[in-house]
């Protein structure tokens, strides 16, 4: 098998299929990002040498189990990490380096060109501020419109995210809204200044199933209509299938597989991705087909197994896996970090064929 180790600079090339012109420069280019947390009992490596480039208008799903480093990677990009975090690497947004920059510099980008929404809508809005003011605040910060115009725009945004009875909601407090409504408000806040990119960190995890579907539909609609680039962090490969163009799979703080949705979901090459897929219910299989869970626990970042972090749980593992960490290599348009990948199907999925 021919493979090239991916280094920082190589990560910039080889766009895979998806939205946006394949040749356009990435909106966000993360290179060799690492995040470590200093704690009283030693450092926790939460993210290791993570590289990912997101092109204008495309949606990249980032999946992985709890603790895989998904949130910390993107909080690092936003400059929102906890104070005990140490960051290394580069993250260029529209050509501008974000990592390690002071807050007032980041503040020119955050909330205007680059927005983020979070997992828990119940606690992510300021409890003592009216919803309308929380949306208007972003506008007043980043544009030079009047408070009255900001209010009008807040109203339009609430309508845009399909909040019913928007006029009245403007003057309500967050606790007067349901979880789904609050997440819509969060999205309205994020959209306020027409960002070119939205990072959505498990935007539906805390919501019940019907509401989840509605929020995802809204995100899909926004992506389509506004041509916004999007990162969708989730546990759930099913969520990714509906919206994303590409999927990045993380394990133990590292990127282990990256490819088009089609390739990753139909023909995963990494044993972990395969196991993830097998652990989720499928519409194209009988409802009573046995659901497999991935054996073992997600790794504790404090004590990552040596070699391939997945080896204690991997059914493909061999001796090498225990000692040597598999490098991330390019396979056509995809990337993979595994010594003994799942064999590719005889006829590879269409997009991956060059």
């Amino acid at each position: 098998m021919h493979s090239t180790p991916v280094t920082g600079s190589a990560a910039r090339s080889t766009p895979a299929g998806g939205a946006g012109p394949a040749t356009a420069a990435p909106v966000l280019e993360i290179e060799e990002l690492s995040v470590r947390f200093a704690t009283p009992d030693g450092e926790i490596p939460a993210v290791n040498a993570f590289s990912l480039a997101i092109r204008p208008g495309e949606c990249v799903g980032v999946v992985g189990e709890s603790g895989a480093g998904k949130s910390q990677s993107f909080l690092a990009v936003m400059g929102l990490l906890a104070s005990n975090a140490k960051v290394e690497g580069r993250a260029r947004f529209e050509g501008r380096e974000l990592l390690g920059r002071p807050a007032d510099e980041l503040n020119q980008v955050r909330g205007s060109r680059l927005a983020m929404i979070f997992q828990d809508p119940m606690t992510s809005l300021t409890p003592h501020m009216r919803v309308g003011d929380q949306i208007a605040e972003s506008l007043l910060r980043h544009t030079s419109i009047s408070p009255a115009q900001a209010r009008a725009r807040a109203l339009a945004l609430l309508n845009r995210v399909h909040v019913t009875d928007a006029e009245r909601r403007l003057d309500q407090y967050p606790h007067e809204l349901s979880g789904g409504m609050r997440q819509r408000v969060m999205i309205a806040v994020a959209l306020a200044c027409d960002p070119v990119m939205l990072i959505a960190d498990e935007p539906t995890t805390a919501l019940d199933v019907t509401i989840q579907a509605q929020i995802l539909q809204l995100l899909a609609e926004l992506k389509r209509d506004q041509g916004m680039a999007m990162v969708l962090v989730t546990h759930d490969l099913g969520v990714v299938a509906g919206i994303a163009d590409r999927v990045a799979v993380m394990y133990g703080g590292r990127l282990v597989e990256l490819g088009s949705v089609r390739q990753v979901l139909k023909a995963p090459r990494h044993p972990y991705t395969q196991a993830l897929l097998r652990s989720m219910p499928r519409v194209d299989e009988p409802a009573d087909a046995p659901l497999l869970t991935i054996q073992g626990q997600p790794p504790n970042p404090r004590r990552l197994p040596p070699g391939c972090a997945f080896h204690p749980r991997c059914s493909f593992a061999q001796e090498t896996c225990r000692h040597e960490r598999p490098p991330l290599v390019e396979l056509g348009a995809s990337r993979l970090a595994c010594h003994f990948p799942v064999p590719a199907p005889a006829t590879p999925p269409a997009e991956v064929t060059p």
Partner: protein, 307 residues
């Protein structure tokens, strides 16, 4: 908010009523009475005196009479300060005590909150350690130590301020007493503010505010500080009680003619009406400040207005 406020205001009266009733009967449980002197009075004179003040009546009748007097704003005559009514005695001392107590609470808020905020924003810096170190001292040292110390340093030694005493209209006499009384409260409020602000700064909504690209100042002042002050506001009730008891000590140390001494003297002398008067006044004061604290709480946190 109006309904919430109204409910809270109405809630004060039953509480006050319970305080009055309980105190009225509990005071009578103490052995001795107002006319038990060192040299016992001849029984018939004592009986006459008791009859004159209605003390020979059944306790429930006395209680009802006291209540009906209260409703008319009459605290009754003092048993010991023979020529004064309780109202007159309280009217003499209360303004000074009120000025002392309220200034102390106000000073504590005005100084404690900014200090706590500063310490939180500079967490684990020398500024933080300095403020918190002084706060520990402020809480640990009792006013009967800090009071004379301040009098010594700023009064006798530096001669900036009067050592003790009182002249009407001369606010200089209040400075040291107010600072002495406020010091532990400042310290406590600074610690409360620091701890709670640090906690709020880790919440999701502060992260959202930062993700909006708001300047840090705005994040703190508009998003974080208000919820961070909730514990401080809750502490205002206990703080008032603390200041009231503390003012007894401070008034004595600095020789202020406040009303605190009446509570002590009244209790020693079994001057029932005077003690009751003080309890009613201080009780109402504490309840009022608790009420104010509740209303501020409701304003700070819209969630408590609806329950």
């Amino acid at each position: 908010m109006m309904r919430y406020a109204l409910r809270r205001i109405l809630g004060v009266f039953p509480t006050l009523f319970i305080i009055i009733t309980l105190s009225f009967f509990v005071i009578r449980l103490a052995p001795g009475g107002p006319f038990d002197e060192e040299q016992a009075l001849p029984p018939e004179i004592k009986a006459n005196l008791e009859a004159a003040y209605g003390l020979d009546r059944p306790l429930t009748e006395q209680y009802l009479r006291y209540l009906s007097g209260l409703v008319r704003g009459d605290f009754g005559p003092s048993f010991k300060f023979k020529d004064f009514s309780v109202t007159e005695l309280i009217a003499q001392g209360l303004p000074i005590s009120l000025l002392l107590g309220l200034s102390a609470v106000a000073l504590a808020l005005l100084v404690g909150i900014p200090l706590g905020t500063l310490a939180a924003l500079r967490q684990n810096s020398p500024t933080d350690y300095g403020i918190m170190g002084v706060a520990v001292l402020g809480i640990a040292l009792p006013s009967f130590v800090t009071g004379p110390l301040f009098a010594l340093v700023f009064g006798l030694y530096l001669r900036w301020l009067p050592v003790a005493g009182w002249e009407t209209g001369q606010l200089r006499y209040l400075v040291l007493p107010v600072v002495t009384l406020a010091l532990p409260v400042i310290a406590y409020i600074a610690r409360l503010t620091r701890g709670s602000l640090l906690e709020v700064l880790r919440t999701n909504f502060v992260r959202t505010a930062r993700a909006k690209g708001l300047p840090e100042r705005q994040v703190i002042l508009k998003h974080a500080l208000r919820p961070a002050l909730l514990p401080v506001v809750s502490y205002l009730g206990p703080a008032t009680a603390f200041v009231i008891t503390g003012s007894l000590v401070v008034e004595t140390v600095f020789g202020l003619p406040g009303s605190g001494r009446y509570l002590v003297q009244g209790a020693i002398n079994r001057d029932y009406t005077l003690v009751m008067g003080m309890i009613v006044v201080y009780g109402s004061l504490t309840l009022t400040l608790n009420l104010v604290a509740d209303l501020i709480y409701g304003w700070l946190d819209p969630r408590v207005r609806y329950d």
